[in-house]
Structures are given as structure tokens and as C-alpha cells.
Amino acid sequence: MTVTPARRLAAVLVTSVVLAAAVVASGTAAHARTSAGPIKIGISLSLSGDFSDSGKAAQRGYKLWRNVVNAHGGVLGRKVELIIQDDTSSPTQAATNYQNFITKDKVDLVFGPFSTLLTAPSASVANRYGYAFIEPAGGGPAVFQEKLHNVFFTQPAPALQSGDVFAKFLATLPKSQQPKTAAYPSLDDPFASPIADHVRGILEKRGVKTVYKTIYPSETTDMTPIIQKAASKHPDAIIGGTQNGDAYAQIKAMVQLKFSPKFVFLTNGPNDPAEFASKVGAKNVNGIFSTGDWFPQERSPGNAAFVKAYLAAYGGKSDTIDPTSAEAYAVGQVVQDVTKKIHSIDNKQIIATLHTGSWPTVEGVLRWNSIGEPQGSDLLVEWINGKLYPVFPASIALHKAVVPKPPWGG
């Protein structure tokens, strides 16, 4: 059979009308549902594939919240039921999963998946059906540039601003202690080099001279030549946009080259309390700064109870709790609070209400702008006497920051 252009056009039109009708019908259904029985929440998670470690961490956080809230009578007197589907770390599968949750499973609410890559398309699907998209781990520009009003990211700051807290901290130091020069060796990764670039923008405006900057590709295993080049410029500060592996290699290279700058700030790597010291040697951690959205000892709303419940449920030590679990738990806390406030699980009302006021969670007290970017600041952490402490902002500090960095232990 040949398909004429007219016939094709007709087919497209018919399909669009049917789809549009389906959208309207299901949208109405979502708002109309107030029946008793459990509150069903659809969550797509990366339980296999590249993000499976983090996906499973998010799952632990969500399930822990469900258990805790159900033990206390549920949400608005109804039990919470999580419908979790694996998306194999694929953005298209995640979007399909949310489509199915909303149209087939007719869930009451949806919670976000892991990573910006999967959150961006999923948030659009939820937006199309008028669902609030409270999400723990999609903090990158791809999520916010869609300018969706249903998105709420449950971390203190958008991902690319997570290093700004270090610049803010430096400004609090006496002028004589502040760095005058800085080098920026960063990984070519959407969540590494742009963070360091953002810090560099702030510091350059403040007169901190950039003596070296470079972006190395992810296949760079040997960091020594790069650090050697940076060291030859004698910067006061090394500020690196990093992930874990390259951060470990940068520190090892600095120690081996006996290059000990006054400040070392790496965006990722040193913020892992359980792994970092064993990777670079316990004698080489002191004085290194990093940043993070959550720490086990943090005095944020409900955090002590969260950590206790987590350890009771999953065992281990508080240092080994993946922040992703806390981020996911915070999603639940937000929903619990907002539904209590409006006495409803209506998505439209949830979205409108979350755009006002501030919301206490284990991730701190959160506020969002109209496109879901959190308006707070991440935490600055520093290794002091072999332990990782939040040191800035002052309100959450558990130790006074130590500057300049002590020499390497070797």
C-alpha cells in the first residue's frame, strides 16, 4: 500500500487527537482521585546499568522513608505504597516508566529518578500530566533549562553552584590569609569542570589571579604531568572540578611531587568520608576541602533520626551512607510536610504550595525558585585530624576550618 501525503497527514492528525484526549482524560483522573486505600507513588530507578550503585542508594532512602512514615500512620492517614521500576540507567526507559506510572498504574504521585540525565526527560513527562516532580538527584542545567514549574530539587543548591561555598568561605578569611593565585585542573565532565569554572569566575572578580587552568579528558589516568605544570606556576590554591578517580590521582601526584599549596579544594573525591583516606593515604588528607549536599553528622531537620533508622535498617557505619539515600529520603519529607499542610495529595496544589515557604529536610531547609532551583548553599567540608567535618557556613560547622593546609604526611 502506498501512503499518500494526505493520508499520512490524516493519520498524524487522528493520532494527535487521540493522544490529546488521553492526556486530558488521565490528567483529570489524577486530580479527581481521592479514594482511600494506599497512596501509590511511582519511582523509576537505575537498579541496573551505569548508575546502579546510586540508583540502589536512592532506593534505600525511599524505602526507608516509606517504612518510617507507614510506621507513624502513613500520609494523611493512608499507607504509602512505592511502585519502583528499573530503568537500566536509560533516559528513554525512565521517561517510559513515568508515562506508565501515570497512565497505566494511575499512581497518585511520582518521585524522581537518579541523575540529571534521567531526570530531565522524566520531569517533562510528569509536567505534561500535571504531576509534581520532587526529585533527589537531578541538579544539572539540563533539568532547569526546561523551566518547568513542577520540578523541585531536594538538595541545597543546583549542581553547578555547589563549589561557590568555597569562594564564600575564602571571603571570610583575613585578607593576608586569602589566596592570591590559583590553578584550576579540572575533569572534562558536565559535573566537574563547570563547577570549578563558576568558582574561578567569582575569584577572578575578586582579584585572585588564575595562573593555570586546564581541562583533562576522562581517559587521563596519570595526573602527574598536569599537577607538575600547575606546581611550576606556584599557585596558592589548587581548585579542581573533579570526580572520584581523578581527585585521588591529583592528590597522589601532589604528594609525589612534594607540592603542597596553601589551599586544595576538589569538588568530588575528598567529600567521601569512607573512601578518600584509603585512596590517598590517611596522612595526606588533612587540610583538603570539598563540598557536599549532606553529611551524616549534619544537624539538619530529622537527620539524626534518619541516620539512626538507616543504620538499623541496613547496617554499616554512618560514614558509609551514600548521600543519595538522604536526598531520596528528603523527597519523602517534603511530600509528608506539604500534604499535611494542604490536607490533600492533589498535584496542582502541591506544586503551588511548594513554590512558597521553606521546607525542612535532612538536606537542610529548602526553598525553590519558580523553576525548582534550590536557593541555599552546599556545605564546605574539610579533613581535619584525619576526619571529615562540615566547616562552613558557620551555622552548620562542626569544627573551625584549618588554614593554610598542613604539609603532606607522605
Binding site: S52, D53, D188, T214, I215, Y216, P217, E219, T220, T221, D222, T224, P225, I226, Q228, K229, S232, N244, G245, Y248, A249, K252, V255, Q256, L257, K258, E275, S278, K279, V280, G281, N284, W408, G410
Partner: protein, 291 residues
């Protein structure tokens, strides 16, 4: 100039370790025309074995070579007998590419399940120490790694040139048909040769874990480097692999320091391309004899 000399020192030391990894690859190719693309994954597997021995039993990573290498030799022999030897017919070489790739993915999967995907590093107390030589920082582990590699490569070279087995290997590399006619048991040579190739990966892996953080996915990057080294040196040539590995180490380090790390990996491929244009068989490769 100080930067360039420091980079050359680094490059040579690292090149030695890559030479050790590549030696196994080129040996296996020479004997049975099998491109073992699992070589990178085998290096990482050995890095994990050595890491596990170090963290649980406090075995020094350099000493662990004595345990890991024979163990991986046995593994190599098994892999050859079960997977590679069974491939027959004119497409055997191409099929072996797929089979060894499957092996690489299998190893990666198993390591991900056992050790998770977080980065690991074997960190003995001397991991980050370095000597100050005329103002240049010479890392102790890198010197150790280079020496260990040199000793193993020397042993391999002695094995190939001074023993009866070595003669059979070289005969098989040069002309399998003639070697078989003269009574060389090609199956035995292939099996043992594959085992030796894997054990070279094993020794290099134990060292690799001390030098760099690694995770199960680290083998992708490794195998692309190793294949380039082997092609540049000339497929099947041990000496070629050593020269090419040193060349790669030095080029990458110098370019990373003097130009940009972005061009470091790429610069080696430029060298590779130029050499292949002038000498398609690689630096030390023999031109294939055709009838």
C-alpha cells in the same frame, strides 16, 4: 626545560609498565594471531586480586606478583583451552576478537558485582613517597614498577631466546606450517603462550593498582592504549612493544605538560599514524610473507 625533563622521567617509568602489559598481547598475537582484547580487563582483574591480598592479608603489592602471576597463568590456560582453542576455520581470528571481548565484559561484570564500581587503589605505606634527584621528583613506586617490569620482560625475553619452548614459540610466530612439520606441537605452544600472555597482564596489574586508582571499567581505556602500542611496535614483536610503550609514555607526559592534557592521548595517535604511513608493519614488525 625542568618541566620537560621531569615529564620524560615520568613517561619512561610509566612506559615500562605499559610495555609489560603489551608484551603479553603481542606474544599471543604472534603465536596464534589472536588479538586478546581482554588483556586490559585481565590487567584490572589482577589489580583487584593484588588489592584484595593487600587489604585483607597485608601482602605487599609487589610481592603479590609472585601469587597473582601463577594464578592468572592457570586462568589464561583455561581460557585458551575452553574458549579460544575451540574456534576453528578461516574466521578463527575474527571470532577470537569477539570471544575475548565477551571475556572482557564478563570480567568487568563480575568485578562490578564483587567490588562495586567505586574506585580502588592499593596504597602501601611507600605509595606516595618520592626521591629528590637533582631537583626532580622521582616517585619510588614508579621506579619499583619500572624495575619489576624490566625484570619480567627480561625473563620473558630469555625464555623466548634461550629455551626449547622459546624456540618453538618463535618458530610458530615465523612460520606455523614449517614449525608443525618440524614437530612443534602448535596446540601446546598456543596454550602455554596464552597463559604467559595473561600472566604478564597479571604482573602488570598488580603494579597498576599501586600507580593509579582503578574501577571495573578502567579496562576500556587500557585496551585502546595497549592495542596502539602493539600496532606501533609491530604486531608480534616484543622489542617493538617495549619501544612503542616508552614512546607513548614520554609523548603523553611531555604533551600534557607542554601543550595540554587534552592533546596528550591524541598526540600518541598522531605518532602512530605517521609511523604506519611510513612503515605499515610498525616499527619492528615483519612484513607479512605472501605467496
Amino acid at each position: 626545560m625542568h618541566n620537560v625533563i621531569q615529564a620524560v622521567i615520568l613517561g619512561v617509568l610509566i612506559g615500562g609498565v605499559y610495555a609489560l602489559m603489551a608484551s603479553g598481547l603481542t606474544l599471543v598475537f604472534g603465536i596464534m594471531k589472536v588479538i586478546n582484547v581482554a588483556q586490559g580487563a585481565l590487567v584490572i582483574l589482577a589489580a583487584y586480586l593484588s588489592y584484595a591480598l593487600f587489604t585483607h592479608l597485608h601482602v605487599d603489592p609487589f610481592l603479590s606478583i609472585l601469587v597473582v602471576t601463577p594464578a592468572m597463568f592457570v586462568l589464561g590456560v583455561l581460557v585458551q583451552v575452553v574458549f579460544v582453542r575451540t574456534l576453528r576455520g578461516p574466521d578463527a581470528s575474527e571470532l577470537s576478537l569477539l570471544v575475548t571481548w565477551a571475556l572482557a565484559l564478563g570480567i568487568e561484570g563480575v568485578l562490578s558485582v564483587i567490588f562495586k564500581t567505586t574506585f580502588r587503589a592499593t596504597n602501601p605505606s611507600y605509595a606516595n613517597r618520592s626521591w629528590d634527584v637533582l631537583g626532580y621528583q622521582v616517585s619510588e613506586v614508579r621506579v619499583l614498577a619500572f624495575c619489576a617490569s624490566a625484570v619480567l620482560l627480561l625473563l620473558l625475553s630469555v625464555l623466548l631466546t634461550r629455551t626449547r619452548f622459546g624456540r618453538s614459540v618463535r618458530a610458530t610466530v615465523q612460520n606455523p606450517t614449517a614449525a608443525a612439520l618440524l614437530g612443534v606441537d602448535e596446540r601446546r605452544v598456543s596454550t602455554i603462550g596464552f597463559g604467559i600472555g595473561v600472566s604478564m597482564a597479571a604482573a602488570a596489574g598488580a603494579v597498576y593498582g599501586v600507580l593509579y586508582p582503578f574501577n571495573p571499567g578502567s579496562h576500556y581505556d587500557l585496551i585502546s592504549r595497549l592495542l596502539s602500542i602493539v600496532v606501533l611496535g609491530g604486531l608480534g614483536s616484543l622489542g617493538g612493544a617495549v619501544v612503542a610503550a616508552l614512546l607513548m609514555g614520554v609523548t603523553e607526559a611531555v604533551v600534557a605538560v607542554e601543550i595540554s592534557p587534552t592533546w596528550a592521548a591524541f598526540s600518541f595517535f598522531v605518532v602512530l599514524l605517521v609511523v604506519l604511513l611510513v612503515r605499515p608493519q610498525g616499527i619492528f614488525g615483519l612484513r607479512e610473507r605472501t605467496l
